[in-house]
């Protein structure tokens, strides 16, 4: 024992599948964490990063078991302890901040009750002391109105605040190690900056060691002292943050780094002479939910008088935080959610507002690809059935010709033919998204609306999907409307970018003018995108007034 706070030696975790087969998911991992050090576990989904982090609490998910190795936490082997002894350590020496704080809070109790629960369970201090301690933590985490925020219920605070409150809950028992399980993945970039700052300050202040699980290298670069790169349950590479960022040795780490720097769009001038009018023109589109009010406006309007233009063979990016109306706009263009007012002119002809009012050919030419391939693909149908339907429906294909076309489509999206008979749940996230895309291609559209299609994917997989989109555009002459909150993805593929805020278009920019955005919200958004530079967060200076104005709170 060399006195490290956490020493994991040759850890093995096995899972039992429903066919009673045992699969080793962690294959002999060793790692150390010194006191006050923050170590990041990084890797794609399924690489075992969360599983390893959980073993610090002596916990494995249902169906899994630690089958070998040691997990020493301050000299105690968590593997050998009884469940009751582990319960005594959880919350006091090791604590956990979950990915989705919204799901981790009980909506029926006030925040304060839940934050001080740990202190109550372990009888660490009196209620009054615990509340005072919570208050100091709220202040340290720069939460607004720290005196009263504890009296609210979880739904009364924003996602970023809830994430910081989850951290307060973890810290109240004064743990030595905190596990952060992708705590900012579900947040907008502008909120992420605040949350990261708070985490960094509070861990430094109390000299708490941390395990930071993430797949976002740039976020990790801001907060971690050391980075452990994982793949398939084994450690690929370990090093200090700057070592990993500057002189990564392992090919997988390099791939991860490369994925983070998408190649800028190389675009020939041949598209410039497109003079046959715009492919898509949207004028003053207003979309909303609920019944119409007396003045003809919808009860809740999600998109207010947005206009845009898109030329043939070009791409338009729409960015903005969640809830800004970008997805609603796409749904209105596709006809899923009929617009209340405004015009959609496609290929020189005005389209009906609702999909029902459009001809089959008009529907065929605009295809939409959704963010979550899990819900966009019918789980009861095989890949083949999913791809066959648009071929039959739009092109009347049958039998051999249709089968040949299905093979072609799978080829186009770089999927092996063996996936034909599989069900969506038997595919990986990236594969599902490719099938999702292939279904849109089957219709032979001229415009594809991509609604956050890379957001649910790992960096490496997302980069591959973006490459695929570019390639298909070259081959098939498609146009994309690319909706995302991830600026780097949009930048990589789009000719023009629209920034939306609260249902309105605030700015329209081209990538070469990216450096000089005019609107304050755009400036804030662009400056909030984390960079690989480890000093980025410390050096980031944002106009405090702008932050207040646009970060809701």
């Amino acid at each position: 024992m060399t006195g490290n706070l956490v020493e994991i030696r040759n850890l093995r975790v096995e899972a039992t599948t429903d066919a009673d087969r045992r699969v080793e998911i962690i294959k002999g991992v060793s790692l150390d964490i010194a006191e006050g050090e923050i170590v990041a576990l990084i890797g794609e989904s399924g690489s075992g990063k969360t599983t390893i982090a959980m073993t610090l609490m002596g916990y494995t998910r249902q169906g899994c078991a630690i089958t070998g190795g040691e997990v020493h936490l301050a000299g105690v082997d968590m593997v050998k302890l009884s469940e009751a002894e582990r319960a005594g350590i959880r919350g006091t020496r090791v604590a956990y901040v979950p990915q989705s704080a919204a799901a981790a809070f009980n909506p029926a109790l006030t925040i304060m009750d839940q934050v001080i629960e740990v202190a109550r369970i372990h009888k660490l201090m009196s209620t009054a002391e615990a509340q005072a301690k919570a208050l100091s933590l709220f202040k340290a985490l720069s939460l607004p109105e720290p005196e009263t925020i504890g009296n609210r219920y979880p739904h009364q605070v924003s996602g970023g605040q809830l994430q910081r409150l989850a951290a307060a809950m973890a810290l109240i028992g004064q743990p030595k190690v905190v596990i952060f399980d992708e705590p900012t993945t579900a947040l907008d970039v502008t909120t992420q900056v605040e949350v990261l700052r708070a985490f960094k300050a509070v861990t430094a202040q109390h000299s708490i060691a941390g395990v930071y699980v993430s797949h976002d290298l740039a976020v990790v670069a801001q907060i971690a002292d050391r980075i452990v790169v994982l793949k398939d349950g084994t450690v690929q590479e370990t090093g200090t943050t700057s070592e990993i960022l500057e002189e990564a040795r392992h090919p997988y780490t390099r791939e991860l780094l490369a994925a983070f720097r998408p190649k800028a769009q190389q675009r020939g001038p041949e598209h410039e002479d497109a003079t046959d009018g715009h492919l898509l023109q949207v004028d003053n589109l207003t979309v909303g939910y609920g019944p119409r009010r007396r003045d003809g406006q919808p009860l809740i309007s999600a998109v207010q008088a947005v206009s845009l233009k898109l030329d043939r063979g070009r791409n338009l990016g729409i960015i903005g935080e969640s809830g800004c109306g970008k997805s609603t706009l796409a749904r209105a263009i596709a006809g899923i959610l009929p617009a209340h007012a405004g015009d959609i002119i496609f290929d020189g002809r005005e389209l009906g507002k609702a999909g029902r009012g459009r001809t089959r050919n008009e529907l065929r030419k605009i295809q939409i690809v959704f963010q979550h391939a899990d819900t966009a693909l019918n789980p009861a149908k095989s890949v083949e059935d999913i791809l066959r339907r648009p071929l039959t429906f739009y092109h009347g294909m049958k039998g051999k010709a249709r089968d040949a076309r299905v093979s072609e489509l799978l080829d186009l999206v770089h999927l092996p033919k063996s996936v034909r008979h599989r069900l969506p749940r038997e595919l990986s996230g990236g594969q599902k998204q490719r099938v999702n895309f292939a279904r849109a291609l089957a219709a032979e559209p001229t415009l594809i609306l991509c609604d956050e299609i890379t957001s649910a994917l790992d960096t490496v997989v997302a980069a591959a999907v973006v490459e695929l989109l570019k390639e298909l555009q070259r081959e098939l002459g498609l146009s994309y409307i690319f909706i995302s909150h991830d600026l780097s993805v949009v930048e990589a593929i789009c000719d023009e970018i629209i920034v939306m805020y609260r249902g309105q278009k605030v700015e329209e920019i081209t990538p070469n003018r990216l450096a000089a955005p005019q609107h304050p919200y755009t400036r804030l958004l662009f400056s909030s995108v984390p960079k690989l530079d480890p000093t980025w967060l410390d050096n980031l200076k944002q106009n405090a007034e702008e932050v207040r104005a646009y970060c809701h709170q």
Binding site: D18, T375, A376
Partner: protein, 284 residues
């Protein structure tokens, strides 16, 4: 796992896991179905024939389950009764679930006033107590097998409708439904091809449960004398005929009750232990 039984391994080869309870329940159901199909060939005595000199006779080598209140062979009467109980219930449950599920999915997809009207109408139908409804119908049109089937299916359609609609509403919010709609698909495709495969499992389980309710309701109606009419008798009617034997502990009243219990409990156990598909198939 060490508990992997022979039956378990057999099921696994087909890509499904089927436990022992489910298998025994299934075999009892299959046994009764076989009995219902081949009853006329296997009954030892004619159902109407008085074979015992005593009534409520005990179990004997000749009369396995004893004799009834007229001295008829109760074993033969149970075997023949299986035809009525299973046949009527199966017909009724099929009609009830088919119409309920079809209407439920249509209402979920169509929405709007069609959904509201249909839901309120079926809710109203649901609010009539089932036995009372059966009494009124039988009083009005008399008891016949088609009338019984129709009554039972009408009674159980609203429940099947509610169940299917609740499931279909969830599926309806999925993105793949939006994709299919915006492709321009019509209602029949949407319900048959996109929704039905996703709700089939629960719907089948519901069908089994509803089958049990119908068996019990039919037995109840028969017990009240409104079901199958003499000289034929389903299991419920057999219990009613021989209820007078209860003070004597006559097997004639116990065995029909056991038959009802064995069928309904087996169906219930089968539903709870349906074969589940094994997702991890790379072990093969």
């Amino acid at each position: 796992m060490t508990r992997a039984t022979l039956s378990g391994r057999f099921g696994m080869r087909l890509g499904y896991r089927f436990n022992l309870i489910g298998m025994s329940a299934l075999s009892i159901i299959l046994l009764w179905s076989g009995v219902a199909l081949f009853a006329p060939q296997i009954i030892p005595h004619s159902v109407g024939e008085i074979v015992d000199t005593d009534y409520f006779g005990p179990m004997s080598r000749d009369l396995w389950f004893g004799s009834d209140y007229l001295g008829r062979d109760i074993f033969s009467r149970i075997l023949m009764g299986a035809r009525y109980t299973l046949g009527i219930s199966l017909a009724a449950v099929s009609i009830a679930c088919f119409s309920g599920v079809a209407l439920g999915m249509t209402a979920a997809v169509a929405g709007g006033w069609f959904d509201s009207m249909l839901s309120r109408f079926l809710d109203a139908l649901n609010s009539i107590p089932s036995k009372l409804f059966g009494l009124v119908v039988v009083a009005a049109v008399g008891s016949s097998i088609p009338a019984l089937i129709a009554t039972l299916s009408v009674i159980y359609t609203p429940g099947a409708y509610r169940f299917a609609r609740a499931l279909a509403v969830n599926v309806n919010t999925m993105d793949f439904m939006a994709v299919a709609r915006i492709r321009g698909e019509g209602l029949p495709y949407l319900i048959a091809s996109e929704i039905l495969p996703n709700i089939l499992g629960p719907v089948l389980a519901d069908l089994g449960l509803r089958f049990v309710f119908i068996v019990l309701l039919l037995s109840g109606l028969s017990f009240l004398g409104l079901g199958v009419q003499p000289p034929y008798a389903d299991w419920g009617a057999l219990v009613r005929e021989n209820i007078g034997g209860l003070p004597f502990g006559a097997p004639a009243v116990i065995f029909p009750s056991l038959a009802i219990a064995s069928l309904t409990i087996s169906v219930n156990l089968l539903i709870d232990n349906l074969p589940s598909r094994i997702r991890d198939r790379s072990a093969e």
